[in-house]
């Protein structure tokens, strides 16, 4: 994450470099609370991702920043230090890339890109020049005169980007911009967006439901659920140190084993599950409490196999006796289910030499699993005092 280093350097300890401050935003649609007292900030130049499933409030939050939604209640919203609560979307220094692009069908590519300048009364020649610059940036200069419906999905996406960038906003808001693209194109566009972010040094606020996208692109991730923030931090935090069972599950941890905390020592918790005690670093939001329910989160690729008669001679490992279960062929690897007396555990096997029918145990390093609260609903994590 070279980006996060750059961003960290830029912001080194100064509060004045917060380009966005949202304080205590609440939004209701009728009886439904879409956003429940959420506060976020973004540093200048940061790539901030709002992650969550549909209905988590991430898009509502983005729309509130854009000014397209007027929050039911908000203490303060400031862009670049200026309070914008009373300023309409048209005069806020941020632009949005819409999920379905929202390119004007009656205009050419060039006219679409120029729109932001046209409504600001900038003359034709300058408009054209800047539109060409913006289209060059997204490698679509040759499409200036095309109609929108003649473009492919990926090209529309890039036109939408050029259109949003042309007014040189302080913040670029992206609402699931890659959602409508196919898998391969999506990966290409991820790289392109990252390049653009680096080149422009602009603050990106990116909404997605894909943890993989969030991990690849962000300097910082804010994971939301049911209108609240569940956990926020750099990708490695969410990936390796989930604050709750929900986060671990959302971030794709395959094995979530439920137990009771038996002891806590120097940030390491030991959990009793059936007849076994499993240890690992505590990553829950609050302090670990003895006797409380906890969840051991282990990724399938961290689970190793011990064939019969081979001793595990490493210190600090968790071991479970097991027998082989179902195997799913995935091409590059095998997804192997292993049956233990505390339930099935999934392992990812890259080495085809392993004989899964001759196993004694499975094991993983204590440092390679996280122990977190068993919380599966909203309400765990930071920014939550309600």
């Amino acid at each position: 994450m070279a980006n996060s280093d750059v961003a960290a350097l830029r912001t080194a300890g100064s509060d004045g470099d917060q380009i966005l401050q949202v304080e205590h935003a609440t939004h209701r649609f009728g009886d439904v609370v879409a956003l429940d007292d959420v506060s976020i900030t973004a540093r200048r130049g940061e790539f901030l991702t709002l992650l969550g499933e549909s209905g988590s409030g991430k898009t509502t939050l983005l729309r509130i920043v854009a000014g397209l939604e007027r929050p039911t209640r908000i203490a303060r919203i400031a862009i670049d230090g200026e309070d914008v609560s009373a300023i309409p979307a048209s005069r806020r220094n941020c632009t949005t890339v819409f999920q379905h692009y929202a390119l004007f069908p009656h205009m050419s590519v060039g006219q679409n890109v120029e729109y932001g300048l046209r409504v600001r009364g900038i003359d034709r020649d300058q408009r054209r020049k800047r539109a060409e610059d913006a289209l060059t940036l997204v490698r679509l200069l040759d499409k200036y005169g095309r109609r929108v419906h003649q473009l492919s999905g990926g090209e529309r996406q890039r036109v939408a980007l050029a259109r949003a960038l042309i007014t040189e906003p302080a913040i670029l808001l992206l609402d699931e911009p890659l959602g409508a693209l196919d898998e391969k194109l999506r990966v290409d566009m991820q790289v392109e967006l990252l390049d653009l972010h680096e080149k422009l040094g602009l603050t990106f606020i990116y909404v997605t439901h894909s943890q993989e996208e969030a991990l690849t692109m962000s300097d910082r991730i804010i994971l939301m659920r049911r209108g609240r923030i569940v956990q926020e931090g750099p990708p490695t935090d969410l990936f390796d140190r989930p604050a709750s069972r929900f986060v671990a599950d959302f971030m794709g941890v395959e094995n979530l084993l439920e137990g009771t905390i038996e002891s806590v020592q120097n940030g390491t918790a030991s959990v009793r599950i059936g007849g076994h005690v499993i240890s690992g670093a505590w990553s829950g939001a609050g302090p670990a409490e003895k006797g409380a329910a906890a969840c051991v989160a282990v990724r399938a690729e961290r689970v190793r196999l011990a064939p019969h008669g081979v001793a595990i001679d490493e210190p600090g490992v968790n071991t479970l006796p097991c027998t082989s279960g179902a195997t799913i062929y995935k091409g590059k690897y095998l997804d192997q289910t292993l049956d233990t007396d505390i339930g099935p555990v999934k392992a990812r096997i890259w080495d085809r030499g392993v004989d899964v029918n001759d196993l004694e145990a499975l094991w993983w390093r204590e440092s390679e699993c996280a122990i977190t609260s068993n919380e599966n609903g909203a309400g765990a994590g930071s920014g939550d005092d309600a």
Partner: protein, 305 residues
Amino acid sequence: MAATLTANDDVLRRLLPRLPAGVWSLSGFSVVWFGGIVIPLLAIILVSFFQGRGIRINIDPTFLQYERFFSYGGGDLLARSVRIAATITFIELMIAFPFALWLAKGCKNNMVRLLTFTALTVPFFLSPAARVIVWRSVFGINGVVNQALLGIGAVDEPVTWLIFSEFAVHFGFLGAFFPTMVWPIFLSISLIDNDFLEASNDLGANRFRTLVHVIFPLALPGVVAGIVFTFIPMLGDTVVAQHMGGNNVLMLSAQVQSLIGVSNFLVAAALAAVVLGIMLAFQVLLWAALKPVGGLNEVFANLRR
């Protein structure tokens, strides 16, 4: 068409060349259109060049009927008809567009919307003559308005220009042709995705600029349809001019009808041909007006998004 031929399917298959259903329905439509619409129109135009001799008709082509028409003040009649129809169409557009915009995008209350829809269809429940004639009791010499004005002493004697005047004709048309303008515009504005309005707003356009640059161009198909379905039927309307204008405000179609009433078919035909000509000219004008935005095809292509 193909579906109706199932009875003797096999025989028909052998008899008829194998063409796709589309071709059959198209040719079927063409036959109906040609037989039902084009031939009568051509007949009218043809007849307008004939000459009457007693009760017989002389088929030597002549412009006599047109000369008669224009020498008896037909030019004024023509100008007045087009002027009134154009004025009303323009006023309707000015009122209907904001109204349709409100109905399509502004009105969030479904009950209000439903009631508005119903209100828009109410005029069609009544016969055209009945809904126009009501105004006589409002605007007549002894009508409600005059009674009121006399009552409060605003005037000493009844105002006469309220009925059988151009004012009255304008008024009559305004109510009758409001729905035909509102409907198509409402539909085309409804089709505009809110995303486009938000994108425009987000990119820095205020409401007025969004209206000019996004809403209006995307609503253009509806505006065109509204103008066509308001202007042309108004030119063909016989009721309003007759009942609201009386003999003071003669208009083309009402005149055609009264000429038929006195069995003057030849001048009536000439007059009808003139009306046809105006309608044709109007279409050409509309086509030319849409040229700068890419022509009619392009305007309607924007519906596909």
